[in-house]
């Protein structure tokens, strides 16, 4: 993370005046708290933070956070976040959204985001359902799920976001759940601090169209900390092995963290700018390039 001066901030300093319109009990409330805590721990002032989202219940989150927020269009948080980061590498850039936003309509951006390794943390609130449009099948819904667009049960396998990200080569891949608020806040903080693209999948239940109370209990029962398992988070292959359990076991913690982070895109951009600016014509003379002598 690019840092300027940090000061003492409390989680409440990142809380905006808008009152969340999420359903009572929605997991996203917890995610919001986790983000406040993580930002306070990092201590960057709100005006140096750009928080971008797409569209969905979860994508409302920048509106509830004091920062420069951008609630954009469905599936496109990552391209916008990249433009912001390239335009001003000194900002702390966060992107967030839902599983539909990130893995369905915006799915094509993921691989390229990873490839470019920009210093951006991306948080997905994975509720395995489309919340805002009232309960349709999402790319992470399990096979056979009955929804209003899959009345006889879905025929598709879910995507595995963790495995995707590891396969694309992301330098930081983690999973968290608001059922463990301190653990989630710590993971978000670590993702933001990771110098490069960092991905956090948060199991954030939709209590209205997704999980019944029964299932929520089941979720808790599935929960298992990676640390407790003795997982070595510098081992990408071990991480992939564990990631295969996505949907069947809720592993919480850092799956993979590249111990030797490569230069970020921003570093490379800066180097190129420095190298090429040495032989720049003054911009008022740029048309001299077209002189044929």
């Amino acid at each position: 993370m690019n840092g300027t001066a940090t000061c003492d901030f409390q989680p409440k300093d990142y809380k905006s005046d808008l009152k969340p319109i999420w359903c009572p009990g929605c997991g996203d409330f917890g995610v919001l708290q986790g983000i406040y805590r993580a930002l306070a721990a990092i201590g960057r002032p709100p005006h140096e933070i750009a928080f971008v989202s797409g569209i969905g219940c979860s994508s409302r989150i920048p509106g509830y956070t004091t920062a420069y927020g951008f609630n954009s269009v469905h599936g496109r948080s990552l391209p916008i976040a990249q433009g912001i980061k390239m335009a001003n590498p000194d900002l702390l850039v966060l992107a967030a959204g839902g599983d539909g936003d990130g893995f369905s309509i915006g799915g094509g951006h993921l691989a390229h985001m990873v490839r470019r390794n920009m210093d951006i943390a991306y948080i997905v609130m994975d509720n395995q359902i489309y919340g805002l449009t009232k309960g349709q099948l999402s790319p992470t819904s399990h096979k056979g799920l009955t929804t209003c667009t899959s009345r006889h049960g879905s025929l598709e396998e879910p995507v595995n976001p963790l495995l995707y990200m590891l396969a694309y080569g992301a330098g930081f891949v983690a999973q968290a759940a608001p059922t463990d608020l301190p653990g989630m806040a710590a993971i978000i903080e670590a993702a933001i601090r990771y110098p490069g693209f960092a991905f956090v999948n948060i199991q954030s239940p939709c209590v209205t169209y997704g999980m019944e109370e029964q299932q929520l209990k089941g979720l808790k029962a599935m929960q298992e900390s990676l640390e407790g398992l003795g997982h070595d988070s510098t081992d990408r292959l071990a991480a992939m092995d564990l990631a295969q359990h996505y949907g069947r076991k809720l592993h919480l913690g850092v799956f993979y963290r590249n111990p030797e982070p490569p230069p970020t895109y921003g570093d490379l951009v800066k180097a190129r700018q420095e190298e090429l600016s040495k032989n720049a014509l003054p911009v008022e003379r740029i048309l001299d390039l077209f002189i044929k002598k």
Partner: protein, 601 residues
């Protein structure tokens, strides 16, 4: 052109197979012409193959500034007839054309496969053989062609070889010498076989004056960087890709960056993000890409973010004619996106004014906090022109309005102001945090469902453009201002019409031409003023549906005698064809005057 006196203007058309070096010969000819002080325009055209296949170019050289590649050819060079004929309408031969062709085809001059025309003179030349004999390789036949041109038409005698020498310097003296021999052979052939009529071009008066040579895409990118653009996000698509290429070559030098994104949506998305972060940003594309970008264009409109989008038009719909010119993205540029949207659309008419229009697009985008479309076209973007140097110091650069300390006390990003333009903060600015959003929002940026707020915001977002319509400098009227006969044309077609206007005026027609640079929002006032004296007129455009004619009629009543001269497809309008259409209108007007025609209105 009279048979005796030298020409002020020559149009060369050449065609051959991919490896024949036709385009490179055209480049050399244009550069030589510029070095000798002439004005010139060069267009090139290819078959649909990726590599190989047929290619052609037109080079028009003139003692006066020119804004279109001209009509019928004065000189046609066919390295092989099959390829030449593929470019039928792009390389039109008339009774005034001198035709030079490869003698190895064994076709006698009176049997060349040109149907319905008897050219002025037809000369077979054993170009391939001459190249082999002098340079030891067939590949030098384009240099032979340049020698022939130098000999017969008096252009490039010195400058061509100077250019070739520079280009080949790295490859060794031997190659330069070989080309010199090929060139000399061509010239000698021409000297030994003089033309029946003198077709030399008048010596230029501005020999040695500095000239720039470039095409519309490079000019657009350079102008953008000059205007302060420091971020480009895009995805390759013909014929716009060169804009991104120019950025990747140069923008880093000025502290900027460029992103070749995974698709058009990401390209424009990154530009939207950069603009949100406070940096001037641009994206460029062609029709299919514009379709993909529309949701983001709506986003930039409602979030009131400055952004310049270049659409280099090609034939549509869908993949259409990727390498050929059309003006049929007009409706898409003005209207695509849902909801009530106005976004300014500007169009350059030639390479030279691409500079001004691009700078203007950034200024408008920044001032009004809005996406702006530059509607360029394949013809302008890919043709090369010689230009006189541009005094860039005369251009003002406008920056977006930022909040001052007072605004930041209780900052409202979308504050309703007198001119509907609100100061815009960007990340890093203390006190300026706000939520940018595609969802409707209050003055403070909070999402809202209120229909009242929505109506007020729509009003803000559309009425802010009213002053733009009063910008007289975004319209040009040429010819007789009170003429009853009129033309309106935009984009590359306007360049053809400028010449048609001059031809018509020379023939004594009482006619005028309007060239709009601002296409949308439609400046009703400017057109009303223009049409006040008009009884008959043509809206001239390269579309099938007469889109511009319809756009104007949506906004104002045109005189009943004003009708479209519209056609789609690749074939450019020819000045002569437009003048003929004007004559038709004029005779209608006269007949009506004589009472022979009942008024139709």
């Amino acid at each position: 052109m009279s048979d005796q006196s030298p020409a002020h203007n020559l149009v060369f058309g050449m065609a051959g197979s991919g490896g024949d070096g036709i385009v490179s010969a055209g480049d050399s000819l244009l550069q030589a012409a510029a070095a000798e002080g002439y004005h010139g325009v060069m267009t090139k055209s290819f078959g649909s193959q990726i590599r190989g296949g047929e290619s052609s170019c037109r080079v028009r050289i003139s003692t006066e500034p020119i804004l279109n590649p001209g009509g019928n050819l004065d000189v046609a060079v066919a390295l092989n007839w099959e390829d030449f004929l593929k470019f039928g309408a792009e390389l039109p031969v008339s009774g005034n054309t001198v035709v030079i062709y490869e003698a190895a085809t064994l076709i006698p001059p009176d049997r060349i496969p040109l149907v319905g025309v008897v050219p002025r003179q037809v000369i077979p030349v054993p170009m391939t053989q001459m190249a082999k004999d002098t340079a030891g390789t067939e590949r030098a036949k384009n240099t032979v062609v340049l020698g022939l041109i130098a000999g017969w038409f008096g252009i490039g005698a010195v400058a061509v070889m100077k250019g070739i020498r520079k280009k080949l310097a790295k490859k060794g003296e031997e190659l330069v010498e070989a080309n010199q021999r090929a060139f000399d052979a061509g010239r000698a052939f021409a000297m030994a076989n003089p033309l029946r009529v003198n077709m030399n071009i008048v010596p230029s008066e501005t020999k040695g004056a500095l000239k720039l040579i470039t095409d519309g895409n490079d000019m657009c990118a350079a102008a953008a960087i000059f205007a302060g653009c420091r971020f480009f996000g895009g995805y390759p698509i013909t014929p716009s890709t060169e804009i991104m290429q120019f950025f990747t070559d140069h923008v880093w030098k000025y502290g900027g960056s460029v992103l070749q994104a995974e698709d058009e949506i990401a390209g424009i998305g990154a530009a939207v993000g950069a603009s949100f972060a406070g940096v001037k940003a641009m994206t460029a594309t062609s029709g299919p890409g514009l379709s993909l970008k529309t949701e983001m264009m709506g986003l930039a409109t409602i979030a009131e973010l400055p952004l310049v989008i270049v659409d280099v038009q090609r034939g549509g719909p869908s993949t259409g004619l990727p390498t050929k010119n059309e003006q049929s993205d007009l409706f898409a540029a003005c209207f695509s996106a849902h909801g009530d949207v106005i976004r300014p659309v500007l169009a350059p008419t030639c390479v030279a004014d691409t500079f001004r229009i691009t700078v203007e697009a950034f200024n408008i985008a920044e001032y009004y906090q809005t996406p702006v479309i530059i509607l360029s076209d394949q013809e302008i973007s890919q043709r090369k022109e010689t230009l006189d140097p541009i005094d860039v110091s005369q251009f003002e650069i406008i920056e977006r309005l930022q909040p001052n300390a007072h605004d930041l006390k209780d900052y409202k990003r979308f504050a309703q102001t007198e001119n509907f333009i609100s100061p815009i903060s960007h990340p890093g600015m203390l006190g300026g945090t706000y939520l940018a959003s595609g969802i409707e929002h209050t003055e403070g940026g909070a999402p809202t469902n209120s229909g009242t707020v929505h109506a007020r915001m729509n009003d803000k977002r559309t009425r802010k453009f009213d002053p733009l319509k009063d910008r007289k400098d975004l319209f040009e009227v040429l010819g007789n201002p009170s003429a009853p006969l009129a033309m309106v044309a935009w984009g590359s077609v306007a360049g053809v019409c400028r010449e048609a206007l001059q031809m018509a005026l020379d023939e004594g027609l009482n006619v005028k031409l309007m060239v709009p640079y601002l296409l949308y929002p439609v400046a009703e006032g400017a057109y009303r003023e223009f049409f006040a004296s008009v009884r008959k007129g043509l809206i001239i455009e390269q579309t099938h549906l007469a889109q511009f004619h319809k756009l104007l009629r949506m906004h104002l009543d045109l005189p009943a005698g004003v009708r479209p001269l519209a056609r789609s497809g690749a074939n450019p309008f020819l000045p002569g064809e437009i003048v003929a259409a004007l004559h038709n209108l004029l005779s209608e007007l006269q007949r009506r005057h004589e009472g022979k025609l009942q008024p139709q209105e």
